[in-house]
Each structure stands twice: as C-alpha cells, then as structure tokens.
Amino acid sequence: EPEVTQTPSHQVTQMGQEVILRCVPISNHLYFYWYRQILGQKVEFLVSFYNNEISEKSEIFDDQFSVERPDGSNFTLKIRSTKLEDSAMYFCASSEYSPLHFGNGTRLTVT
C-alpha cells in the first residue's frame, strides 16, 4: 500500500536556525497537510496545500513557517528561525479526498 514518507525521522537544531522538513506524499493525492504534536498535547493543524498554493492555515502557521512543493513529488515545511517552542513531532499528510494518510513524522528538537 502506498505510504507518505517523511525525512528525517529526527532533527536536532539550535535555536535560531532554519530547518526544512521533507515529505513525499502518495503519488496520486492532490491535498497536502502539515500537522504538529507537541509532546503530550493534541495533534494540531498547521496548513493545507492544494493546487500549488496554501488553501488554509492556522494561527500557529505564522511568518516563520512556509511550505513548498518544489517538484512533482516533494512537499516541504520550512521554519526560518526556530524557537524552543517549535520542538514537536511534525506530521505530513496527503489525501485524494478523504481520509488523510499520515507519515510517521519528524521529531524536531530545538536546543
């Protein structure tokens, strides 16, 4: 069965550094998403992406965040200047319509 794949599985970075989290959605899917889960908290929506543009974003998704689909397969989340509170598990998801299929996540640790 096709899967959403995310790399790296774990990323450690220093506060203020830029990070790029990478995702390869399922190939025939049209909708792409990023969610995050701070340790011990609920899974929170960050952004959805359709037709090469952001279709919806949450309050969390401020100017420090950006998403891109640089080619036909990758979907990336960039955090320009990381803060301690950005430490979380970041999940990519894709869908053709419903339901969403999630990757295994990237654990981001900001020190």
Binding site: Y31, K42, V43, Y50, E56, F91, Y97, P99, L100
Partner: protein, 114 residues
Amino acid sequence: AQSVTQLDSQVPVFEEAPVELRCNYSSSVSVYLFWYVQYPNQGLQLLLKYLSGSTLVESINGFEAEFNKSQTSFHLRKPSVHISDTAEYFCAVSEKTAGNKLTFGGGTRVLVKP
C-alpha cells in the same frame, strides 16, 4: 468551526476486557468522522472512518465505532482487547467540504495490562 472532545485522557484496561473510548464533536455542518491510532514511537494510522451509510463502522482488528448524530458522538469500542492494542487513540472530524482538514481530539491513551 468544529471541535472534538475525548473525555478520557487515559484508560487502563485488562487484557481480554472490553474497552470504550468516548468521542463527542460539535460542528455547524455535516462531518466525516475518524479514529486514528498512534502506537508508541510511530505515526498516525487510520483505524476506521464514517463517511456515509451505515452508522456502525468496523476495523479489521476488531474495533467498531457508531455514529450517533443526535448525540454528536462517535464512540470507539472493542469487546476484547489485546496487549498490542496499547496505544493512543485520536478521534477526528472533518467538514464535508473539499480539503478535508482534520480537527483532532486530545487523544485517549489505552494501556492494556496482562
């Protein structure tokens, strides 16, 4: 805007006993409903979904959930749990519009004891 409430943050249960995880939602429009499971150190896996039709939906590993529109609930049940069911379970809803953004509940951690 929709919201999801999972009343129980943790549910300890003995192996082979039944379990019920409660989920209530609120939304001004019709919704799709989902249960996702997160095993330790893994991602989110779809357990089952309600899109339309029969209000009782089942998964391949013995879980079932029933959509109750009048009570705005989508409780998850399993008549006999296994050690391998130890995981965190998330209820989620999406509005019946293009995009299908999911809103998650806070999760229920199930710990199955021998």
